[in-house]
């Protein structure tokens, strides 16, 4: 079974803090993704990576950066957290050029106070 794990289920941070969200997958997938999920807006793609050290902006990259130093690990960084970044963050991984099936982690509920 594919497993995608995220470092925390719940996180509370203060405005202005630097926040790291970590994601690890164990199936040797080339592609990894970070989404945020908000009520009424669904999942929105923040960044994705199709190879180590490669990254592409998604639909809402502002205020975020990413790092992929190893194939199995994809990190999302909030350089200076703001209250409008309070959300559920979901990491996913997938293989090949068929972006159809992505395997999601359980999510991190981030609250920025």
């Amino acid at each position: 079974d594919v497993k995608v794990t995220q470092s925390s289920r719940y996180l509370v941070k203060r405005t202005g803090e630097k926040v790291f969200l970590e994601c690890v997958q164990d199936m040797d997938h080339e592609n990894m993704f970070w989404y945020r999920q908000d009520p009424g807006l669904g999942l929105r793609l923040i960044y994705f990576s199709y190879d180590v050290k490669m990254k592409e902006k998604g639909d809402i990259p502002e205020g975020y950066s990413v790092s992929r130093e190893k194939k199995e690990r994809f990190s999302l960084i909030l350089e200076s957290a703001s209250t409008n970044q309070t959300s559920m963050y979901l990491c996913a991984s997938g293989t090949g050029t068929a972006f159809l099936e992505q395997f999601f982690g359980p999510g991190t509920r981030l609250t920025v106070l």
Binding site: L41, G42, D59, L90, A92, F99, L100, Q102, P106
Partner: protein
């Protein structure tokens, strides 16, 4: 305009009813259409996908695409309490998935 729009729900049905979920999409060039299911406190998981137009059946689930009207549907027959979840439609655009907002379904025992 969002690439995929989904009926917001929520939907509450008695056990055994047929559940009908609908989405519309904006770009006639889209070819792949997916349905993901998300249980509470879990990440989404792929339920099924279709290519181009037509129907696809998998057990109690049927996915339907009508390209002429840019309409995507998911039907759940003989619904069970275990089907209670949020259902998200999605399509592939330029190697990225675009998701609808999701419809939360509750099947009452």
């Amino acid at each position: 305009q969002k690439e995929v729009e989904q009926d917001p729900g929520p939907l509450s049905v008695p056990e055994g009813a047929i559940v009908s979920l609908n989405c519309t999409y904006s770009n006639s060039a889209f070819q792949y259409f997916m349905w993901y299911r998300q249980y509470s406190r879990k990440g989404p998981e792929l339920l099924m996908y279709t290519y181009s137009s037509g129907n696809k059946e998998d057990g109690r689930f049927t996915a339907q695409v009508d390209k002429s009207s840019k309409y995507i549907s998911l039907f759940i027959r003989d619904s069970q309490p275990s089907d209670s979840a949020t259902y998200l439609c999605a399509t592939v655009n330029d190697y990225k998935l675009s998701f609808g907002a999701g419809t939360t379904v509750t099947v009452r025992a």
